[in-house]
């Protein structure tokens, strides 16, 4: 068992003929992901990956032909919002956007539109998801994690790899790893994933990797205290990051004191979460 993706995931890749899209599609296919289609406007009819995967001109055509139920996006930042709208309009229920650098006003429009259609988005600016042994959607290296009962959710990319790798080195595996991305406006957040892990029978423990900025970790702490029965271990990055020079007062008015690593660690500890001093300490805290 797992959350969000498993062996029944039928994946479609938007931007499959681009450099990154092709490289990571190769890796996803090699991992055993059920990659059913690619989309690149203007290249419909071609086949890629040694003739294993058909390319379509649009997500709509790809979905009609292959019944894909998940889309992963590798297109450049200026085209990514359109790619997300397209996938949602084509009726794809789960969209994963790897692209980094999407403009925030675009993301606000995308997020509000997707919410109205009840479409789940993971990312942008995220490494995607991995259910070890079943499915890999995104760019998390497959060989750094093994199947297991630890659910991992993270705002970071490479820091997540550190944690998966540290778990593997001591023989601990993951049920599913979800990289939700570090952008100010994204799709799925910590609470959504924590709730799924809480209800997933195969997940017994959870690792939450947060960082400075925003208040998502504080909300996660509230959720853990009131709704979660499974143990949670955490790490928060950015304890030594210097505060930026602030312009204007709106940030302070909206966020109040939230956003510091110190505040997040405090909130999580108050919710009964063990917070690691560095990522390699996480496995021992899970025991």
């Amino acid at each position: 068992m797992s959350i969000l993706i498993n062996k029944n995931t039928r994946l479609l890749v938007q931007g499959i003929t681009g450099n990154e899209g092709l490289f990571h599609s190769t890796q996803m296919l090699a991992y055993g992901t059920n990659l059913v289609a690619g989309v690149t406007p203007g290249k419909g009819g071609e086949w890629v990956l040694d003739g294993k995967v058909p390319v379509f001109d649009s997500v709509k055509l790809a979905k009609e032909a292959t019944d894909a139920n998940c889309a992963v996006i590798f297109v450049p930042a200026r085209f990514a919002p359109d790619a997300m709208f397209e996938a949602a309009d084509a009726g794809i229920p789960l969209i994963v956007c790897i692209t980094e650098g999407v403009a925030v006003q675009d993301m606000m429009r995308v997020r509000n539109y997707l919410d109205q259609k009840n479409v789940r988005l993971v990312g942008p600016n995220c490494p995607g998801m991995l259910t070890p042994g079943e499915s890999k959607v995104g760019i998390i290296p497959g060989n750094i994690a093994i199947p297991g009962n630890v659910g991992v959710v993270s705002r970071s990319g490479t820091l997540t790899y550190e944690v998966l790798y540290a778990l593997k080195l001591v023989g601990m595996g993951a049920s599913t790893c979800v990289g939700i991305g570090g952008d100010p406006v994204n799709g799925t957040n910590f609470i959504d994933v924590l709730e799924m892990f809480e209800h997933d029978p195969h997940t017994e423990k959870v690792v939450l990797i947060g960082e400075i900025g925003g208040s998502d970790e504080d909300k996660a702490a509230e959720f853990i205290a009131s709704k979660m029965t499974k143990p949670v271990v955490s790490f928060i990055a950015g304890q030594t990051a210097p505060p930026g020079k602030r312009m204007g007062h709106a940030g302070a008015i909206i966020e109040g004191g939230a956003g510091t690593a110190e505040g997040k660690v405090k909130a999580l500890e108050a919710a009964g979460v063990k917070v690691a001093k560095h990522p390699e300490e996480i496995p021992s805290l899970l025991k």
Binding site: E20, E100, V104, Y165, A237, A241, G248, A250, E280
Partner: protein
Amino acid sequence: MKLHEYQSKTIFAKYGIPIPKGRVAATAVEAKHIAEELGGRVVVKSQVLVGGRGKAGGIKVAKSAAEAEQLAQQILAMEIKGLPVRKVLVDEAAAIEHEIYFAITNDRAAKKPVMIASAEGGMDIEEVAATKPEKIIKVHIDPLLGLRDYQSRDVAASIDLPREHWREFSRIAAGLWQAYLETDATLAEINPLVITKDKRLVALDGKMMIDDNALFRHADLNEMRDIDEEEPAETEARKYGLSYIKLDGNIGCMVNGAGLAMTSMDIVKLFGGSPANFLDIGGGAGSDKVSAAMKIILSDKNVKAVLFNIFGGITRCDEVARGILVAMDEVKPKVPMVVRLVGTNAEEGRKLLENAKMITAETLADAAQKAVQAAK
């Protein structure tokens, strides 16, 4: 990207928001001439990219052109929160009856733009927010619909703005919304928006921040960037798409991914060291980017050791290793280097660096400890 007050107000004016007459000066003499043109009574305002200028003494009223010259002299010699003042804005002094706070910004938690207003605007607005939160009005804007007129009227009513100003306030709100939207701003703030003694609404201060990720569609705004206000190394880093922030320590750090970069700094500190910088080479960096990054790190004379922590994903460790070799060849660094490569093509990367006289490490903790040791 932050814009100066004078730049922000120029944008406001384009969207029909009333601003005082005024111009920017780089010298006291220029400031005097502008004050003469404006009739003597002016405000001399430091232009630095940080808030709280008034409280720091960077904003002063002059009763004559001669006094304006004197004040400009003073302010141009100031440093505000570490930033030297290079320019002053000389604005016509307004006869203020009342100061309002008014802004549009992104509310990341709500995933929507939010309009924020308060009847108790001015330099103490953050204190108002902390002690009298009921005096702060927030109205979210649907990003798919845009600002509706009724929302501006609601805000005007909620801050007890006299009815005679509602129409003008709605017009200003619509202008600020358009400015925010069309410049891809993350902040468009007027503090204070004043009611003058002769019953006009005027934006006396302006602060805008533009989303760096949207600058590809705003070539005109990109040109407004004031690189004088940045560390030269940070400007250089941006050219290569690197994100670099200089710090006070002596251990240079080069990492892929912002979260891991922050973590590497944290762990250096945890083991008693002090990071010289934050540097994220981003995902999928090639060797040219890596060698540029290394040169930037080594341009900081405080650096006594460098820590490379690369966890390959999109980034390939062999590419990074090649970049390191290129940079080593060009810069011939004398400081010790600790390198840790894990993930995609790590083996190949390690092989490339075999003869490069670098200290290697297996774990993150190991790498940090070795770097701290090497910097001593």
